[in-house]
């Protein structure tokens, strides 16, 4: 049997991990805990989250853990700055496709990656690592993307031909 404190800890973990609000009834059923003890545990959690960087919100018949809205500007600023100096995995993948296949359309990139890539393309355009170099000949005359001189500088390359050839990977790894 779980103690009230243990129940509170498990619920805290569930709320931390869940992308959506969680219903107490779902927790009670799934973990087989007494609803009375669960309510007690929720009271402890509410107290714990009364005044900190996160908020325990009751929404849509459930509970959800979010960052506290008072700090949203600081959080935006932090992640915005981080984004300026870093690449995301999606951006890296998109950049390698553009580097090796340029000029290439967004549809071709998405075909290869298998996921929507508009966010990554925007972020690379913002960083001036890629540019719209042309319009394709296919239906809709899509934008074609190529790398920029900033791209070469970013990777410390003199010219595009200095990129390690793709065949070298299969041969050497």
């Amino acid at each position: 049997m779980l103690t009230v404190q243990e129940i509170a800890n498990v619920v805290e973990g569930i709320l931390f991990l869940s992308p959506r609000p969680v219903k107490l009834s779902d927790i009670a059923v799934n973990l087989d805990v007494d609803p009375g003890l669960l309510n007690e545990a929720m009271e402890r959690l509410k107290e714990r989250y009364a005044d900190c960087g996160l908020e325990l919100c009751g929404v849509a018949g459930g509970f959800e853990l979010t960052s506290r809205k008072d700090y949203v500007e600081h959080l935006r600023a932090f992640f915005g700055e981080l984004d300026k100096s870093r690449l995301s995995r999606a951006a890296l993948e998109t950049m390698s496709i553009i580097a090796y296949k340029q000029p290439v359309s967004r549809a071709d990139i998405e075909d290869l990656r298998g996921v929507n890539s508009s966010g990554a393309i925007h972020s690379l355009l913002d960083k001036s690592l890629i540019r719209i170099s042309d319009r394709g000949e296919t239906i809709g005359r899509p934008f074609m993307y190529s790398t920029t001189p900033d791209f070469l500088r970013y990777l410390g390359l003199e010219k595009l031909e200095d990129l390690p050839p793709i065949e070298s990977f299969e041969k050497k790894v």
């Binding site: 870093r86 496709i97 580097a99 290869l112």
Partner: protein, 251 residues
């Protein structure tokens, strides 16, 4: 015979046959013999009358070159590993110091591996929100992972991975025995939408938090079926984006 040819080269004085024999018997260290000079002498001797038979010494010469190049590397024995002399190889069967050292190192790395396995198991019980929250991050946190200091090699590795991934079979086959699951799912999805007073309902709401491929596919097929029957309408704003479902046919 060319084997009888007399050599007077750096590091050796005598017949070619003697040279080969002495190296084989470990009486002479081939490292100190200039084989290029030996080759020159042999070529000079062969030039006046070319006869294929006479080329066999070149085979022996090439073996000497091979032995010499091996011996320039540390920890190798003269004939032992070259196959030039099987007898000598058998006499030298004891593992070399290099082998022993490698084996010892390898054993140490096996212990490292077991240690890593323990760390892996321990660390896997700490769950990260990324395991469940994928794709649900607030818009201002660009996309999942931030990388520092990207190099051309990272680009290469990413490209190779994408190509391999795109070659993989991404299809999913619905087997005959899944027909029942599908019809159950159609009923479930439809009643779920009606429960929500006809929607709108997000596709994410009708699958579990971290759906397996099978669950996602069956649920998707159920939605498609309901659309075809004119019972619901589905709308997707951007490719790969969320699908919004409402009761009733599309207007």
């Amino acid at each position: 015979m060319l084997f009888d040819i007399l050599l007077d080269v750096t590091g050796f004085n005598g017949s070619f046959e003697m040279l080969v024999e002495q190296v084989r018997r470990h009486e002479l260290d081939v490292i100190h013999v200039k084989l290029a000079e030996v080759a020159e002498r042999l070529v000079e001797a062969v030039r006046p009358n070319i006869d294929l038979q006479q080329f066999t010494p070149f085979l022996s010469l090439s073996k000497l070159l091979f032995v010499k190049s091996r011996n320039l590397l540390p920890g190798r024995d003269q004939f032992g590993e070259t196959g030039l002399d099987e007898e000598a190889a058998q006499e030298e069967e004891e593992p070399t110091e290099v082998r022993e050292r490698l084996l010892e190192q390898y054993k140490a790395f096996q212990s490292v591996r077991d240690h890593f396995r323990e760390l892996e198991t321990l660390n896997a019980s700490r769950l990260r929100s990324m395991q469940t929250r994928t794709g649900e991050m607030p818009g201002f946190i660009d996309e999942i992972v931030f990388l520092e200091k990207v190099t051309p090699f990272d680009l290469l590795a990413a490209m190779a991975q994408i190509e391999r991934r795109s070659r993989e079979d991404r299809s999913y086959h619905v087997r005959a025995n899944e027909g029942q699951r599908l019809s159950d799912r159609i009923a479930e999805v439809f009643s779920f939408i009606l429960e929500r007073r006809g929607g709108p309902v997000s596709f994410n709401d009708i699958v579990s938090i971290a759906p397996q491929k099978q669950e996602a596919v069956i649920s998707f097929l159920a939605v498609i079926y309901l659309v075809a029957q004119g019972k619901v309408a589905a709308h997707q704003k951007i490719p790969y984006g969320d699908i919004i479902i409402t009761a009733g046919a599309a207007g």
